[in-house]
């Protein structure tokens, strides 16, 4: 049977779109020349934070609104989502940043020392004050991508099929040839193992120049991220960036001084000028792209709206452009 839709790109955007369409009964091909999810995909290097309120401090309201449904969507599609919220801290000198953050993230509440200690004892050792956003969640992006890929194949999505039916282009930065206003925003990240540190939920360290987030993975492994530099490099981490991430982690807790460095990751996030994604209809192709630093947060909403458009002819409530 021929496919109704062929999705180009097997990163978080392509797979989420495939999952959404497939779960509604559509026949799907996914084409990614690199095969299964891996280092070639920008989303491989993601933090996996489902944190709309934290992002809302600097992102547009639509990002917050559309991101709210992300955790439930990932759970529904089989991902192991941890719903333990986000903790936010700042070093002694940067307490003003904590006040600003609290003002701009209404969902954040201040923790007293006892609460902070019971939530994250190792963090509370070093931090005199902290904020907490209870409703947020996180997942392991690599496991989530690989499991979704496996599940889709099991559900009949064809990863070897020909290019047929309506083309949905989810190639991220590789689609720049067709989307001239798409740019790359470089991000560098580290993966470390730190047996002396523990963390149950993502932690954000506010800093005027070296903001850091730490996302816990299994087995005392932590993802430290991420720089945000206005260039499109995808394969070159600099010593300065790595040093800044390490310094920030070490300042947060000296236990990181003895952490084992497992990985230095780098890629460029696909972004439009307003750093919000788009569903763009051009000629006979539909592009879903521009997830910027919100791949796992916004791919579900983008996929849902793309599927509504393709299957029901319903125009997306945001981020839609018809260039035909």
């Amino acid at each position: 049977m021929t496919a109704q839709f062929t999705i180009l790109g097997g990163g978080v955007c392509g797979l989420a779109t495939a999952a959404e369409l497939s779960s509604r009964g559509a026949r799907i091909n996914v084409i990614d020349p690199k095969g299964a999810p891996g280092r070639h995909a920008c989303s491989w290097w993601a933090g996996g934070m489902l944190a709309p309120d934290c992002e809302g401090v600097s992102a547009e309201p639509a990002v917050v609104k559309q991101g709210r449904r992300a955790a439930r969507w990932w759970e529904k599609h089989g991902a192991n989502v941890t719903r333990k919220g986000t903790m936010i801290v700042a070093l002694g000198r940067d307490q003003a940043d904590l006040a600003t953050f609290a003002r701009r993230a209404p969902a954040a509440r201040k923790l007293d020392k006892d609460e902070a200690t019971s939530l994250e004892p190792r963090v509370a050792e070093k931090m005199s004050s902290a904020l907490f956003i209870e409703e947020e969640a996180h997942l392991d992006p690599r496991t989530a991508l690989l499991e979704l890929h496996t599940k889709l194949a099991r559900d009949g999505v064809n990863f070897d099929g020909p290019l047929e039916g309506q083309i949905v282009d989810c190639r991220g930065l590789s689609a720049r040839d067709a989307l001239p206003d798409l740019r790359g925003v470089k991000g560098e990240m580290l993966v470390v193992r730190c047996p002396d540190f523990s963390l149950s939920r993502p932690l954000r360290l506010l800093h005027p120049r070296f903001p850091l987030y730490i996302v816990p993975r299994a087995d005392n492994v932590f993802m430290l991220g991420a720089t945000q530099i206005e260039n499109g490099e995808r394969d070159r981490a600099t010593l300065r960036s790595v040093m800044e991430l390490m310094n920030a982690a070490y300042a947060l807790h000296p236990a990181f001084g003895e952490a084992e460095l497992l990985e230095v990751g780098v890629d460029a996030r696909p972004a439009f000028p307003d750093n919000q994604p788009r569903i763009r209809h051009m000629d006979d192709r539909i592009f879903a792209n521009g997830l910027f630093r919100h791949g796992f947060l916004l791919a579900p909403a983008l996929a849902r709206m793309t599927a509504d458009l393709l299957l029901d002819g319903k125009e997306p409530e945001v981020w839609y452009e018809d260039h035909r």
Partner: protein, 256 residues
């Protein structure tokens, strides 16, 4: 309106281009504030093979005069090399020269600054040095050929305003012919107005706008404050008067 190296600029507000929530908000902040000059960081964004082209293309679309800078440079050599790269990239001899002397406070290195400025002037650059308000340093910068001075108000990103109004006033008095720009440390429009009231030609800021909850509104606020301060400076303001100790009789009381 200010004239820098022979070029007339239509606004006394200069804005940096870093740290905005998005390039779209950056563009809107420029549009709504009428800022005349955009500074652009080159060192870290260039990467290899000038990978920063996409962002710079967006900055070029702002349709303002571009002033590339050497932010993130910690040595004379690094700053000079970055300036040369910036000249190629942006086809301009203008360079906002930063030689960072202290990695934490980003305080300028005055010694390296004079050395780098001398080399760049020799090489045909029009140098806008980011400096402290030290009079002797500023004299040295002018001696090596700088025709604009950009003393800080306070350390970069602090929003503390004018830490040393006396020093800034003193610079204005000593360099009546050199365009002066307060660069860095401003957090509020009132502080920008103060700089203009001291007779400065322009202000340059970034964080105060980019990190405001509403960058576009803050940019507009700064534009109006700069205009207000400049009008005040031109209007020859009254001198403040101390009425705490009466020297003349008060109405209803007998002359003494």
């Amino acid at each position: 309106m200010p004239v820098f190296y022979g070029e007339h600029i239509e606004s006394r507000l200069m804005l940096g281009t870093a740290q905005y929530p998005s390039p779209a908000i950056l563009a809107e902040a420029f549009r709504q504030s009428g800022a005349g000059i955009a500074t652009v960081s080159v060192r870290r964004e260039a990467g290899q093979d000038t990978a920063g082209q996409d962002f710079w293309a967006l900055v070029r679309e702002l349709d303002v005069v571009l002033l590339p800078n050497t932010a993130h440079c910690h040595s004379v050599r690094e700053a000079v090399t970055t300036a040369q790269m910036a000249r190629e990239l942006f086809d301009t001899n203008w360079i906002k020269l930063e030689v960072i002397g202290h990695a934490d406070t980003l305080q300028p290195d005055p010694f390296g600054l004079v050395e780098a400025a001398a080399q760049l002037v020799e090489d045909g650059f029009d140098v806008f040095p980011y400096c402290t308000e030290d009079l002797v340093l500023c004299e040295r910068l002018v001696e090596v050929g700088c025709r604009v001075l950009m003393p800080w108000g306070a350390p970069i990103g602090t929003g503390l305003g004018l830490n040393n109004p006396y020093g800034l006033r003193s610079l204005r008095a000593h360099f009546p012919e050199i365009p002066l720009v307060v660069d860095a440390g401003l957090g509020l429009p009132s502080q920008a107005a103060h700089a203009m009231e001291l007779g400065y030609d322009a202000v340059l800021l970034n964080t105060a706008v980019a990190k405001a909850g509403d960058p576009v509104a803050m940019a507009k606020g700064f534009a109006r404050a700069v205009e207000a301060g400049a009008l005040a400076a031109e209007a020859d303001p009254m001198d403040p008067r101390d009425m705490a100790a009466p020297s003349t009789p008060v109405f209803g009381k007998a002359f003494l």
